[in-house]
């Protein structure tokens, strides 16, 4: 098998550069998000070199790779969070439901209502649990009445598996919850506005194994209704929760495919080296 694997000596030096030979099929049939030739620059430094990748509807796509490989940068392109970083420039074509999200006419506020995000460190607002979840529906004016807002909050908390734990203390501060509960609160906050896509940037890296298991279960349940992209450093987590896995290396997409195939039969030497723990 080893002789089949593609090697690319250029990528073993630390200089970042473009690498064209992507193993696996980047396109999927029912793509919710479709990215073509996405290049990101931080000032003069290029961080992503022409990424092509589709995120399938109601599926979990895991983005793995060593630190600094650009997977978080790529994730932040999808809800245009990179706009908030000074000197950051995004080129290429990213389509959500076949609409160009970087179109000057498209509204970033509406985009972010359709593409939710969960961060590495739980970041509930320093407000009550209720206000945390109600914030999105409020600013997007989704609720017609107080009762409607209450039911939106309840539904989101139930979907995030947090309702039973917090139902009797909705008015206590969100920051008073445990780390795992805080992260589920952030997930509830993200799904409160009924997004189509949820981006998760290492959502479990600050959590203990039990809380991690809860979140992974939750991701599995959520994938029935949402398109999910998750950045993770844990190979086991990628294997457990995702249907498709994409391997990033130094700003390039090296390999993408069904999760099972990537972990059992990687096509690229780099992928194999990474998942077997030889570096990264």
């Amino acid at each position: 098998m080893n002789e089949k694997k593609v090697t690319n000596p250029a990528l073993e030096v630390s200089d970042m550069q473009a690498y064209q030979d992507v193993a696996g099929e980047v396109a999927v049939e029912d793509a919710r998000v479709s990215c073509r030739d996405v290049r990101v620059y931080y000032g003069d430094k290029q961080a992503l070199f022409g990424i092509n990748l589709d995120l399938g509807s109601n599926a979990v796509t895991a983005l793995i790779g060593p630190s600094g490989c650009g997977k978080s940068t790529f994730l932040r392109c999808i809800n245009r969070m990179n706009d908030t970083i000074p000197n950051c420039r995004v080129e290429g074509n990213i389509r959500l439901d076949n609409q160009d999200i970087n179109d000057p006419n498209s509204d970033v506020v509406e985009l972010r209502a359709r593409v939710g995000m969960v961060f590495q460190k739980p970041n509930p607002f320093p407000k009550s649990i209720y206000d945390n979840v109600a914030y999105g529906p409020r600013i997007h004016a989704l609720a017609e009445s107080k009762d409607h807002l209450d039911s939106i909050v309840e539904t989101a908390l139930k979907k995030a598996g947090l309702w039973k734990e917090v139902a009797d203390r909705l008015n206590s501060p969100g920051t008073g919850l445990s780390g795992g509960q805080q992260q589920r609160l952030c997930i509830a906050r993200a799904i409160s506005v009924q997004p189509e896509v949820i981006l998760m940037d290492e959502p479990c890296s600050a959590l203990d194994p039990i809380a991690t298991a809860r979140i992974e279960e939750l991701i599995d349940e959520l994938s029935e209704n949402f398109t999910i992209a998750i950045v993770t450093h844990s190979m086991q987590q990628a294997a457990r929760v995702s249907q498709r896995t994409a391997y990033f290396h130094l700003g390039n997409l090296i390999e993408v495919g069904d999760t099972e195939q990537i972990f059992t039969n990687p096509q690229q030497q780099l992928t194999e080296d990474y998942i077997t723990g030889r570096f990264g």
Binding site: M81, P86, G116, P126, G136, C186, A190
Partner: protein, 399 residues
């Protein structure tokens, strides 16, 4: 360690000195006199109208009563010395009593009359008693009368509430801080209303929106430098620009507030920027990712979180402004204003200016007033700093 001990010793020495020379100002000596509201002396009918009662010469009424009480004092000079033992306000006191209760006409009543400042100092021990007449604040004769009052139990003492309500006066026993307190309050109000919004807005602009270029760097350096400019320079600026160019009324809290705002702004801006910097970026990211506009992120998340820090900086800045004297002298807030200012366009004085004016008065009666006024301003300063600490504590504990 030695330094700390020395500093504490110096502070306690200062406080003890101020307290020991100032606390007596909160009490005033009174002399009880039997006053006969004789209609003949007042030159009115017993059933006189309010207007007629207003026309009465109450000074004459007071003098005649004194003469009746001391029939043995006949010489003009002696009579004057006797009258000088009482505050100038005695006739006004009688007038107020009669106007409040016209039924007093024809009656006899014991009235506690404020003693003059010299008598007050001798009874309190603030001026030496057993020395040569020439150097004593009252004469031998007055001292004898004073002892007579004391023996017959006519001397009294009461809490000096007028000190907090009345304006300045050229008689120390009548002078109060009311005008200065009102003036300082109006000053701080104007300063707060001007400097807080401007300071917070400037901090938000510089911290969140200003492009990182040469211009913003220059602005930044200048703000930091402004905090170190001697306050009298701000006074000069106020004199040249606010008074002479814009022609606003001289010596008013409005002008003083404008000048003090300029002085307070750097403090508020620097504190507010630090507070904005301390808001965790994860909160901004979280709000932006929910689809909040930059404006919503600012007003829903960043400002509420930075507010305690901003308020603390503002209160510290206002406390600084409360103690500032030099710029106020430049814009004419040192005039003798007997009326208590009612608006920001009235001529007014301020606490530190009043202290300065009293401190340089030649009359000895003002010494205890100066110390007492310093005690009042220290209480205000401690209260403001305490408020700042409490605000910070309260908001920190909440989340």
């Amino acid at each position: 360690m030695t330094g700390v001990v020395l500093a504490l010793a110096a502070v306690s020495f200062l406080l003890v000195t101020i307290f020991s020379s100032g606390y007596s100002a909160f009490w005033r000596t009174e002399i009880a006199l039997t006053i006969e509201f004789d209609p003949k002396l007042m030159k009115v009918e017993p059933d006189a109208t309010f207007d007629q009662l207003q026309q009465v010469n109450y000074l004459a009424l007071f003098r005649k009563n004194l003469e009746r009480a001391f029939p043995e004092v006949t010489a003009r000079a002696d009579r004057r010395e006797l009258a000088q033992m009482f505050s100038e306000s005695a006739p006004d006191l009688l007038r107020e009593m009669v106007l409040a209760d016209p039924g007093l006409v024809g009656a006899r009543q014991v009235v506690s009359v404020l003693a003059s400042s010299s008598v007050d100092m001798i009874t309190k021990g603030n001026a030496p008693r057993d020395i040569d007449e020439a150097r004593r604040v009252i004469s031998d004769q007055q001292l004898r009368w004073l002892d007579r009052f004391d023996e017959s139990g006519l001397l009294g003492s009461r809490f000096n509430s007028d000190f907090f309500t009345s304006g300045p006066s050229r008689s120390p026993e009548l002078a109060g801080l009311g005008g200065a307190i009102a003036g300082s309050a109006l000053l701080l109000l104007v300063t707060l209303l001007l400097s807080f919004p401007v300071g917070v807005a400037a901090a938000v602009y510089l911290e969140e929106y200003a492009p990182q270029n040469r211009l913003s760097e220059i602005i930044e350096v200048n703000i930091n430098n402004l905090a170190a400019v001697p306050s009298i320079i701000f006074g000069l600026l106020g004199l040249a620009v606010v008074l002479n160019f814009f022609g606003l009324p001289r010596g008013t809290p409005l002008v003083g507030g404008i000048v003090l705002s300029l002085m307070t702004l750097p403090t508020i801006i620097i504190a507010s920027r630090a507070a904005l910097k301390a808001v965790p970026p994860s909160i901004r990211d979280g709000a932006l990712a929910m689809g909040a506009s930059p404006m919503q992120v600012m007003f829903h998340h960043v400002l509420p979180l930075a507010m305690p820090g901003m308020l603390t900086g503002t209160i510290i800045g206002l406390a600084q402004a409360l103690g500032e004297t030099a710029p106020l002298l430049m814009i004419g807030m040192f005039a003798f204003v007997a009326d208590i200012p009612g608006s920001i366009l009235d001529q007014a004085s301020a606490l530190p200016v009043q202290i300065y004016l009293w401190a340089e008065s030649s009359e000895r009666g003002y010494v205890e007033l100066t110390a007492a006024a310093i005690m009042v301003i220290l209480v205000f300063l401690v209260a403001m700093n305490l408020l700042a600490v409490l605000l910070r504590k309260k908001f920190e504990r909440r989340w």
